[in-house]
């Protein structure tokens, strides 16, 4: 889990102090939430510079709204919601057809490692083809399933937090993640089918 419970508690406590006027708490808030937000934004935009810019905008939005932060409210869903909104708006604004919230498996460290380990050129080609197929299948999924899959499986956000962020129930998030899983599993099944 990438957003650990201790990190969530630290973020909530820092935001609470920050909204009460403790300016030094912002650095703690940054340390608690910036890494996972940046990963989320990098995957969403596939552009490191754009992700950093969006991270700065997200944190600035949180800074501007610190006075209206509700005591005891969780910070993580709010931060992710702002980041997601800014990403979508930024993509619209730039009129670039970014394929939002899809997983670029070439960025995945595990895939890099496994790819590097493959000595056989055929296997490398096969892995790349599989990556492309997974990518294509993810792109065809509804946005709700993609976002749920990304948050729960890739960002490590808890089901409860993801449900709150997506404005739905925990059961619905489970269902969406499961459907995304099933769809991706289909890619591998087709791959191993005897031709």
């Amino acid at each position: 889990m990438l957003v650990k419970n201790a990190g969530i508690r630290a973020a909530n406590a820092a935001m609470e102090r920050y909204s009460n006027g403790d300016d030094a708490a912002f650095a703690e808030l940054y340390d608690a939430i910036a890494p996972c937000l940046l990963r989320f934004l990098c995957r969403a935009t596939r552009d490191a510079a754009a992700a950093e810019d969006l991270l700065q905008q997200t944190l600035l939005q949180m800074h501007r709204a610190r006075g209206s932060f509700i005591p005891g409210a969780p910070v993580i869903p709010w931060a992710f919601a702002i980041a997601k909104r800014l990403t979508i708006d930024s993509a619209r604004r730039r009129r670039i057809e970014l394929r939002l919230f899809t997983h670029d498996l070439t960025d995945d460290a595990i895939t890099h490692e496994s790819t590097a380990a493959m000595a056989n050129a055929d296997e490398v080609l096969h892995a790349r083809r599989l990556e492309r197929q997974v990518q294509e299948r993810l792109d065809t999924l509804p946005e709700t399933q993609r976002t749920a899959f990304r948050l729960v499986q890739q960002e490590g956000v808890s089901l409860k937090t993801a449900a709150e962020l997506l404005g739905t129930s925990v059961t619905a998030v489970k269902l969406r993640t499961h459907r995304a899983y099933v769809a991706l599993r289909g890619v591998f099944r087709e791959e191993v089918k005897p031709s």
Partner: protein
């Protein structure tokens, strides 16, 4: 983690002052008072201009030969019930519980759709229960009630939007529910003032403004509550 990025973000934050919770609470209290005062002032001015300073009207001339009067109990019951529905609408639109994301889409949609229906049904049921005739008033199509509702509700709607400032999710729906809440508050005042209970009048003069306010709220919410990225 990128320390240069952190330094850049901290510098940007330090360069832009933002109010603390105490300052925002103070400002919101003032704004909410302003919302109440603006609604009441609009109501009183309208009553002074349109109906000879009558804030509470129990009856009226339906036709040259017919005069209808409603009982004080009917007025108290309809206005009291409407007040309860308006309080529910305000709670739904403004209270976010312990979440910065606010209410779910389902709650907001249900509230926005059911509040006008609830107010309308309550008015009709009370009128029927008290034996108050829901007759046609040809000279009262409902345009004055429409204008009064919009006049009373527009101030509170703007204040509600100013108090919320930002809604990272569902800004249009949040705005619509605020519009309905402001309209429900206006409904209570209009209910005191308007003795007409015919269905076409209720639909045009009382229900339509709520729909207009919901639409206005949705447009304004999308424009002012949603989070926009800056140009790179």
């Amino acid at each position: 983690m990128n320390t240069e990025l952190k330094a850049r973000v901290l510098a940007a934050v330090a360069g832009e002052p933002s109010p603390t919770r105490r300052a925002v609470n103070r400002r919101n209290t003032l704004l909410n008072m302003l919302a109440g005062v603006s609604g009441m002032v609009a109501f009183v001015i309208f009553a002074l201009v349109v109906s000879d300073s009558q804030l509470l009207r129990l009856g009226g001339q339906v036709s040259p030969r017919q005069y209808v009067e409603r009982s004080v109990w009917l007025v108290a019951t309809t206005a009291g019930g409407a007040l309860g529905v308006a309080a529910t609408a305000l709670w739904l639109a403004l209270w976010r519980g312990r979440s910065m994301l606010g209410r779910s889409r389902g709650s907001l949609l249900c509230g926005t759709a059911l509040i006008p229906i609830g107010l309308f049904v309550w008015k009709v049921v009370c009128s029927l229960a008290f034996g108050y005739p829901m007759m046609e008033w040809p000279e009262r199509p409902g345009l004055r009630c429409l204008a009064l509702s919009l006049l009373i509700a527009i101030g509170p709607l703007l204040v509600f939007l100013a108090v919320r400032r930002r809604a990272p999710v569902r800004p249009a729906l949040n705005g619509a529910s605020m519009g309905v809440a402001a309209g429900a508050c206006a409904w209570v005042a209009v209910d005191l003032w308007c003795p007409v209970a015919s269905l076409p009048h209720l639909l045009l003069g009382h229900v339509l403004p709520l729909c207009i306010l919901a639409a206005m709220g949705a447009v304004l919410g999308d424009a002012f509550l949603s989070i926009r990225s800056r140009r790179r």
